[in-house]
């Protein structure tokens, strides 16, 4: 187990290094930030001083070197736009996105597992076909459109919920539900498929023959074995959740990492883009490793050696 985690950490570190190089040079290609931050009629000497102060006049490789040496000390630099340390800003925004994604994932998982398991009890029955079509529809909805339509319906017409902003619990309902719909549809499909094959297996027949209650056969015996593919899909959806969160945060004006990143891209805030990318990627790597370990907990046959 230990050696497996070490290999995974090593692979993640290599990917991380690739990503850091990619983002550093991509961000430099967006143009000179001096043009954006100083008025056009700024005298040349002021521009040069600004460049010098932020190190923009150094050769790219020198900039990259100093960026790396700062990174080792966990110093992500200063945000150009907000003039505050990047790490503070990123870590300030990250919990919001994390909470949004986690709440949406919890909602998606619980709805999908119950719906998929119930559908699989009677394949091709009425409930099964209903769940099948609804989950396919959910997986096909563009989330920005769903967000707009739900704002229109619940905030503008019915006036039950606020349109945007962050604050009390009511501000979270629409973003979480909208973000949950797509993964919920995808996961429900997988649960249904995995449950149909689990329910036709020998151990389920044994359990039924022993006289175990139908409900506990479905939700205890079969479901635990059907959870493996579900965890895989849920894990794949994790980085998809961040994609969704970017759009959702823009529409609902949520102060999360997605909104921070889009603002930074628009303002050529290099340090901010790099910091955001690195923290997001680290979180995703960490989660992938956790998912691998969750397999071992769910399936005692899997041993990582």
């Amino acid at each position: 187990m230990g050696s497996y985690v070490r290999t995974r950490m090593l692979h993640s570190a290599i990917s991380m290094a690739g990503l850091i190089i990619l983002v550093f040079f991509l961000a430099r290609l967006t143009g000179n930030p001096v043009d954006l931050y100083l008025p056009i009629d700024t005298p040349v000497d002021v521009r040069d001083a600004f460049s010098k102060a932020h190190g923009f006049d150094d050769p790219l490789l020198v900039q990259f070197g100093s960026f790396l040496s700062d990174l080792v000390r966990l110093d992500f630099g200063q945000s150009l736009r907000q003039e505050r340390p990047v790490l503070t800003l990123v870590l300030g925004a990250f919990p919001t996105t994390l909470a949004l994604a986690a709440a949406a994932m919890m909602l998606a998982l619980s709805v999908a597992v119950v719906a998929g398991a119930l559908a699989a009890r009677n394949p091709n029955g009425i409930l099964d076909r209903f769940v099948n079509v609804i989950s396919l529809a959910g997986a096909s909805l563009p989330n920005f459109w769903l967000a707009l339509v739900s704002v229109l319906l619940f905030a503008v017409w019915l006036r039950w919920l606020p349109t945007s902003g962050s604050g009390g619990l009511s501000h979270w309902i629409l973003p979480v539900v909208v973000l949950a719909v797509r993964p919920c549809g995808l996961i429900a499909q997988v649960v249904r498929g995995a449950m149909i094959s689990a329910l036709s297996s020998a151990y389920v027949k044994t359990a039924r023959a022993k006289g175990v209650q139908s409900r506990s056969v479905v939700f205890v015996h079969a479901l635990r074995n059907a959870m493996l593919p579900v965890i895989t899909v849920a894990g794949d959806q994790a980085s998809g959740m961040i994609n969704g969160a970017v759009v959702i945060e823009m529409i609902f004006g949520f102060p999360g990492i997605g909104k921070l990143m889009i603002d930074s891209i628009q303002y050529r805030d290099f340090a901010m883009i790099q910091g955001g990318v690195i923290v997001t990627a680290a979180a995703i790597f960490l989660m992938n490793i956790l998912i691998d370990l969750a397999y071992a907990v769910l399936d005692p046959r899997i041993k990582y050696n």
């Binding site: 079509v133 396919l136 529809a137 704002v151 990143m261």
Partner: protein, 306 residues
């Protein structure tokens, strides 16, 4: 003694007719197929049929609500803030929407399978390197990566296709590699290798035909996904730029009129949803029909129901 076997055609209908029959019995799949045919038709012929109708400004029809047929039949879905018919714009926009997604999926299918074939067949340090590169792409939210790239390069048609294609390459790569790893150990491939076939011949003649169906199935599902990604990009303003537009850009344009003219954003989003859903439903149906066990269930069910 001669036995004349009845020709298969008199016993069974042709495979095409059989499939069409099965399609007709699954009403959801049938309606999806019809809708997709309509969308493809609009993408192929729409711009010729409609001409410049999608851009014709009619200030009398500004923000006309749906069913404003008195202004002209094509205003039955309403009009946008410049009085352009939403229905005609949907027809014209279908081409860009479908073309962008199709080209991106095709590019990632080709690049992903070539890399996946190499990684799976060689299974040495090249494979490791290719997989690490896929890991980099997989490890990061594709939309953010696309946003950064499209901000660097300008969001033209080629760049949008490239970005969408690159972010989806890992799916094909991983599937192709996993399949090739399994197929290359099968007897017929080992036999070909023993007979002295070159690696390229083995890959092309023996492994490719076995692996391709899986990859094409994934491509169908990817098409829906890429279309959704493209509309997200367009929605954030980094898709293809005006005067060209896709359905996603139409939703973005309608966002500011949500309170006064909801239909401007509503219909294009519905078009995206219905197209993606039809693709998913049809792919689902193809999966069932191509699986002998499930197909048998489908056929027997319809027999018992009459």
């Amino acid at each position: 003694m001669t036995v004349t076997a009845p020709s298969p055609s008199t016993l069974e209908a042709s495979p095409l007719r059989q499939s069409l029959g099965l399609l007709w019995r699954d009403k959801f799949a049938f309606v999806s197929a019809l809708f997709l045919l309509f969308v493809i038709g609009a993408a192929l012929f729409g711009p010729y049929l409609v001409g410049s109708g999608g851009n014709k400004i009619n200030l009398m029809a500004r923000n006309a609500p749906p069913l404003s047929i008195h202004l002209g039949w094509h205003y039955f879905l309403g009009a946008d803030s410049l009085g352009r018919s939403i229905f005609l714009r949907l027809i014209v926009g279908a081409r860009n929407t479908v073309m962008l997604a199709a080209s991106a999926v095709f590019c990632s299918l080709v690049v992903g399978s070539v890399l996946g074939f190499i990684a799976g067949y060689r299974n040495d340090w090249t494979s490791g390197m290719i997989m690490r590169m896929a890991d980099i792409l997989m490890s990061f939210p594709s939309l953010l990566l696309a946003l950064i790239v499209l901000y660097v390069l300008d969001p033209g048609v080629t760049n949008v296709i490239l970005v969408l294609a690159v972010t989806r390459v890992p799916i094909f790569l991983r599937t192709a590699r996993a399949e090739v790893l399994e197929v290359r150990e099968r007897t017929f491939v080992v036999a070909a290798r023993v007979m002295g076939a070159s690696p390229w011949r083995i890959l092309w003649r023996h492994i490719r035909p076995t692996v391709m169906p899986t990859l094409v199935t994934i491509a169908t599902l990817e098409f829906a996904l890429v279309m959704l990604s493209e509309s997200s990009l367009s929605f954030l303003g980094l898709g293809i730029q005006a005067p060209e537009f896709t359905w996603g850009a139409m939703v973005a344009q309608g966002q500011s009129y949500l309170g006064t003219a909801w239909w401007v954003a509503f219909w294009p989003g519905l078009a995206i949803t219905l197209t993606a859903m039809s693709l998913n439903l049809l792919a689902n149906w193809v999966r069932i029909v191509s699986d002998p066990v499930q197909r048998w269930r489908l056929e027997t069910r319809t027999h018992t129901n009459g």
